[in-house]
């Protein structure tokens, strides 16, 4: 049936997908650097390559964004398909790319911080060396570092960029793996507490692979249903099919599992606390911000574009998941005693809030420019990304002899010890809690508005109650920092280099700016408009 004679070389719109290629290129360059640059030079070169690559990609994204074609006016959709319809570069893609690249850039700075560990990064000097052995000690005294973390990060970013831009389920699967595999490794590379780090990596890996299998099986079922991997074709098939189709529904369910796993939604959240706690904090920050962004982008693209016609079939599921996620995240977080782990649960709760906006499935009413599900989720992700990186960055600074000290009890009295730091952390917490004049508030407002407009007001009510519950544990941390006296030893706050300081400053400023003058970013999110199918 398919004749060789019909074969043409695929058309690749390099100009449109160039940001992605730049990041891949930088990643490959990083691998080469690892092979050819002398050890002493690797760190600066790798950091430079990564940062520069991301920066150029970011600039390029802006170019791509400005050049987006306007499609049929009514839908507010702009952009085009690329690479034989397997990718799509449209408004949401560009916004997500931009956000992801900014967050990655910030994360690179965190990755590159060397002052806290006495001139070394916070990644294991030699991952192969056993914890607590002479080999390990020797590695650290000789100043050996795994500068591979930078290319790994870049590869993960590549996957993240590709994930929400995939217009083809198979490509999406590949993207999923490309973003996941480097992360599994990064999780296991902590310099301190190696056992925990490795455990986190293993758990993440096993569960990630497990969920990928579900996702993949879902893809298979959808393929069976539609006979195509392309989202537009699937959409057409969904619209055309009358009545319920078990392949379709099963496929939707299984793909949902894979995607919801990545965003950390209950009941597929179990990995989140363990991995967030065990991974090196810089990696946690990167994951918490970027993975979530990419995964939500992909989730929206698949469900809105491919399954949009079947939304009444999956909405109840998403409602339940959203509620469950908010409840699990908020309630369990209350009794956490570890700051990092608490933030992990908080991230679950936030996933729930984003899901509220997602489950509203509100596309706007044509002529009125207002909040839609897409724009609200995009804004929320950007807002949350900044605050969460900032919060984790601060966690890297509270230390004792054994490295970071994340037990809440050890944070008591931090407000007196380091008022500015504690104040900033409190500010991030307030943003998480959604207090006005922080980005978290606008984000919450946006997703709630979208959900309500889409008729999901019961979700909004639950979300509101859960926000109040969630506020409790943020307040607990504030109480500990400001209103409690240190139990035994005072917490020490390490003085970081300009890198971490810069990260904290930038994220804090972004959190303020997005809270006080969210207009520009909201407008951007709104101009991102709808998905191109």
């Amino acid at each position: 049936m398919i004749l060789l004679a019909e074969f043409e070389s695929p058309k690749v719109e390099y100009a449109t997908i160039s940001p992605l290629l730049i990041v891949v290129g930088a990643a490959i360059l990083g691998v080469l650097v690892e092979a050819f640059v002398p050890r002493a030079w690797r760190y600066p070169v790798q950091v430079g390559v990564a940062a520069l690559g991301l920066l150029i990609a970011l600039a390029d994204t802006v170019r791509v964004g400005l050049a987006l074609d306007t499609l049929d006016a009514g839908l507010l959709a702009r952009g085009s398909l690329a690479v034989e319809n397997s990718m799509v570069v449209d408004g949401p893609t560009v916004f997500l790319w931009g956000t992801l690249l900014v967050m990655s850039l910030i994360s690179v700075l965190l990755f590159a911080e060397r002052r806290l560990e006495g001139g070394l990064t916070s990644f294991a000097g030699q991952a192969a060396a056993l914890p607590g052995t002479d080999a390990e000690r020797e590695a650290s005294t000789r100043g050996i570092e795994h500068t591979e973390v930078f290319p790994l990060l870049l590869f993960a970013v590549t996957g993240m960029l590709l994930f929400p831009a995939s217009n083809d389920l198979l490509l999406m699967f590949v993207a999923l793996e490309v973003l996941s595999l480097p992360l599994y490794l990064l999780c296991g590379l902590a310099r301190r507490r190696r056992l925990l780090s490795q455990e986190a990596a293993m758990k993440y890996f096993l569960l990630g692979a497990f969920s990928s299998a579900f996702f993949l099986y879902g893809v298979a079922l959808i393929y069976g249903f539609a006979g195509s991997f392309e989202l537009a074709d699937i959409d057409a098939a969904v619209s055309a099919s009358s009545g319920a189709n078990a392949y379709l529904l099963g496929g939707i369910g299984l793909m949902a599992v894979g995607l919801l796993f990545k965003v950390g939604a209950a009941p597929f959240h179990a990995w989140t606390p363990d991995v967030y706690q065990g991974a090196p904090t810089a990696v946690t920050a990167f994951m918490a911000a970027c993975t979530k962004i990419a995964a939500f982008g992909a989730l929206m693209r698949v469900f809105y574009v491919a399954f949009g016609g079947a939304s009444w079939d999956w909405r109840p599921l998403m409602w339940v998941v959203a509620i469950l996620t908010m409840v699990v995240g908020s309630v369990i977080a209350i009794t956490q005693t570890d700051v990092k782990r608490m933030l992990a649960y908080s991230s679950i709760a936030h996933a729930g809030f984003v899901l509220v906006g997602f489950a509203g499935v509100y596309a706007g009413t044509g002529d009125v420019v207002g909040v839609t599900s897409v724009s609200s989720v995009l804004f929320y992700l950007a807002a949350y990304g900044f605050s969460t990186i900032g919060a984790f960055a601060i966690i890297t600074l509270v230390r004792d002899a054994g490295g970071e000290t994340t037990a809440l009890s050890r944070w008591a009295g931090l407000g007196r010890e380091a008022p500015v730091l504690a104040g900033t952390f409190a500010f991030f917490l307030l943003a998480f809690a959604g207090i006005p004049l922080t980005s978290g508030f606008i984000g919450k407002w946006a997703v709630f508005a979208a959900a309500w407009a889409g008729g999901a007001w019961p979700l909004v009510v639950v979300a509101v109650v859960m926000s109040a519950v969630a506020a409790f544990f943020y307040v607990r941390v504030i109480v500990a920092m400001f209103f409690s006296d240190p139990v035994d030893i005072k917490p020490a706050v390490a003085v970081p280099s300009i890198l971490t300081t810069g990260v904290i400053t930038v994220t804090a400023l972004a959190t303020v700016a997005l809270g006080v003058v969210p207009g520009p970013v909201l407008d951007l999110a709104q101009q991102a408009g709808a998905f191109v199918r």
């Binding site: 595999l181 599994y184 490794l185 056992l195 490795q198 393929y223």
Partner: protein
């Protein structure tokens, strides 16, 4: 034999794989079970490909194999590292992170 049978087999293999993940303690075996799930998926791809009379599904199977191979690389690296430091490949031993 029609597509249904292959799909049934595929579903069965997938279930076996999933069960394997749940019941086996050895990380390697758990990982193998995941691979089994992926292969079950491959079977489904190929079956659907045949049913639809397209090549896409078969191409997908190749993609999956490649990805699975990459996954093995990363997975084994992690598992080996853990085995070296813990002298155990049991997934239940690695349970410091909880609650």
């Amino acid at each position: 034999m029609n597509t249904e049978h292959y799909l049934t087999l595929s579903a069965l293999l997938f279930t076996i794989g999933a069960t394997g993940v749940l019941v086996r303690r050895n990380a390697i075996v758990v990982f193998m079970s995941v691979e089994l799930m992926l292969n079950a998926t491959n079977l489904a791809f190929v079956s659907f490909s045949r049913a639809h009379g397209q090549l896409d599904g078969q191409v997908a199977a190749f993609f999956v194999m490649v990805v699975a191979a990459a996954e093995v690389v990363v997975g084994l690296a992690i598992i080996v590292a853990i085995f070296r430091s813990r002298r155990s490949a049991s997934v239940d031993d690695a349970s410091l992170l909880k609650y």
